[in-house]
């Protein structure tokens, strides 16, 4: 007979405000219902208002862990990628969002955490430590991430340079990184516009890349970033 083992929530000892902003945040039934409900609403919205077209779903993995990366030019990007994932992956997928935009006030933090299931990345703080925590969680839980290696939204719609942070997350692991290319999102909701416009959006999902033999150090991280940037560029053409 095996011993009973208890595994309290990783964020069990944090007060509510800190829980929402913690990368260790775990949610239960209510969180899953909110996440599913919001996801369904967004799916209907993207299909109806932006005539969303998805290509390459067969390239998605069967289960976590995984990392989905894409070009970033609009607030619709993470929502679009999440919509492209089936529920079995979406329920384990955490979009990595800028802490200073999405987790600053209690209201936005609540919305980002409960509806989007997002985890914060504080761009001005110790990125290395946060990425280590994310890497550990991804492998242990396991879970998936949706992130944008450019680090910020492109102001022109062009693809920027990928930062090496993505490498810190997956170098030396067998976790699949799935490159995606979003088109039309910048036109639909550019950073200069207050509300989205009814323009079509397309997402193309590429074949997964893995980096099990890439060293988990500066040179390896850069290598991962370069290869993934090239993969997204190729999908754009």
């Amino acid at each position: 007979m095996s011993e009973w083992s208890y595994q309290p929530a990783a964020d069990q000892e944090l007060p509510p405000g800190q829980r929402l902003r913690s990368v260790r945040r775990e949610t239960g039934v209510t969180g899953a219902i909110a996440h599913y409900g919001w996801g369904t609403f967004v799916r209907l919205y993207l299909r109806a208002y932006h005539r969303l077209h998805i290509e390459g779903r067969e390239n998605l993995p069967v289960d976590a862990p995984f990392v989905v990366i894409a070009n970033h030019s609009s607030h619709l990007d993470a929502l679009t990628i999440a919509t492209a994932l089936p529920w079995r992956l979406r329920r384990k997928a955490y979009p990595i969002a800028a802490g200073d935009t999405f987790f600053e006030s209690h209201t936005t933090a609540f919305f980002s955490a409960i509806m989007l299931n997002a985890l914060p990345m504080w761009r001005k703080r110790t990125v290395r430590h946060a990425l280590d925590q994310l890497r550990q969680r991804m492998l242990e839980e396991p879970c998936g991430y949706i992130l944008f290696p450019e680090g910020t939204r492109s102001r022109t719609g062009e693809l920027g340079t990928f930062r090496s942070g993505i490498g810190m997350l997956i170098a030396g692991t067998a976790v699949p990184a799935i490159p995606c290319c979003l088109s039309g999102a910048h036109d639909a909701w550019p950073p200069t516009s207050r509300v989205p416009r009814p323009r079509p959006i397309q997402i193309r999902i590429g074949k997964a890349l893995r980096f099990p033999d890439t060293p988990n150090e500066r040179s390896g991280w850069n290598d991962v970033a370069k290869q993934l940037e090239a993969a997204v560029r190729e999908l754009r053409n």
Binding site: Y6, Q7, P8, Q12, E13, P16, E26, V29
Partner: protein, 323 residues
């Protein structure tokens, strides 16, 4: 506004309001006398401010009426279960947690409907539903632990607590419910104060190192006396209007309250967590505050119900409309 209520209800509400209003003056006097260091001062104020929120949240639904009392207890049950599920890890099993929540909703419905047969049927039906739902995961490893944790959670936070709400189906529920809540909370405070004054030997050092036999006996005496005093006017003219019953009810509140506290301490020690959550500043989680009520509610309900027919003169099955 309070004139519509019976004297005990009025007395409890006015006393609590008066104590809460006077407390800052006591703090200021203690500070002026130099009896408060910075740390203690902060802790006292945090706890006091939390009570300013908790006290109305507990009392207003009871005063507002039957429906609000039952719904309030239902919401409290859900939040208490949530803390427990997060601390045990059960929250990761969504189907089981949703089933426990359904059980709490059904108990709340049975209380609202004033349908005692269903209220009694829900626990046993939910046990079999939980056992079946847990099979759905097709994961035999850990099956007993998951089902047992869910059943324990349902019984402790759903079934036990919902008895407090079911009291509201009696016409004279207000003073009974308020007395139970007030005396159970005061029982903790009496134990703390008498423990500080007379406590030597520890009561259960492994479970709760700060509790003493002195505190336990002190609260037993004081709480029993308080309940016996309040129960006089509340149960006047009923079969419970006898000193033996009044003292018995006092003992139930004090012993039930102390064991409720120890049950939660045992759960926390077993899980290896200090508090079950960080929701109420200065107190911890909801369960760290309301643990004592868990056992008192059903014990008092069945004691009172055995000797005096609780709510039987009121219409039953209000929503479901059966016989």
């Amino acid at each position: 506004m309070l004139t519509a209520f019976d004297p005990v209800t009025k007395g409890i509400v006015i006393s609590v309001a008066a104590v809460l209003a006077a407390t800052p003056l006591v703090f200021l006097a203690m500070q002026a006398a130099g009896k408060l260091n910075e740390k203690l001062r902060k802790e006292l104020w945090t706890r006091y401010l939390s009570w300013l929120v908790i006290a109305p949240l507990l009392m207003v639904p009871v005063l507002a009426g039957r429906v609000w009392t039952i719904l309030g207890v239902g919401v409290l049950s859900l939040f208490c279960y949530r803390e427990y599920a997060r601390a045990t890890g059960l929250f990761r099993h969504h189907a089981l947690s949703a089933t426990v929540a359904l059980g709490i909703a059904l108990l709340t419905f049975a209380a609202l409907d004033h349908w005692y047969d269903f209220f009694v049927a829900v626990p046993s039906l939910m046990v079999l539903i939980l056992a079946m739902v847990a099979v759905g995961a097709d994961q035999p490893s850990g099956y007993i632990q998951r089902v047992a944790l869910a059943v324990f959670g349902l019984l402790l936070f759903g079934v036990c607590l919902s008895h407090l709400g079911y009291f509201a189906n009696d016409k004279a529920y207000r003073p009974i419910v308020l007395m139970i809540i007030l005396c159970t909370e005061l029982n903790d405070i009496f134990a703390f104060i008498t423990g500080k004054a007379f406590g030597r030997r520890r009561l259960a050092p492994q479970t709760s190192p700060n509790k003493t036999i002195g505190g336990s006996v002190g609260s037993l005496v004081l709480t029993t006396a308080l309940v016996a005093w309040l129960a006089g006017p509340i149960f006047s003219g009923t079969p419970l209007d006898h000193p033996v019953h009044r003292i018995a009810m006092g003992l139930i509140v004090s012993i039930g309250g102390q064991f409720g506290d120890l049950v939660l301490s045992s759960i926390k020690r077993d899980l290896g967590v200090k508090d079950l959550a960080v929701v109420i500043p200065g107190h911890g989680g909801l369960l760290d505050r309301f643990d004592s009520l868990l056992l008192v509610a059903p014990a008092m309900f069945h004691y009172v119900g055995y000797f005096w027919e609780l709510g039987l003169d009121q219409p039953a099955r209000l929503l479901s409309g059966g016989l």
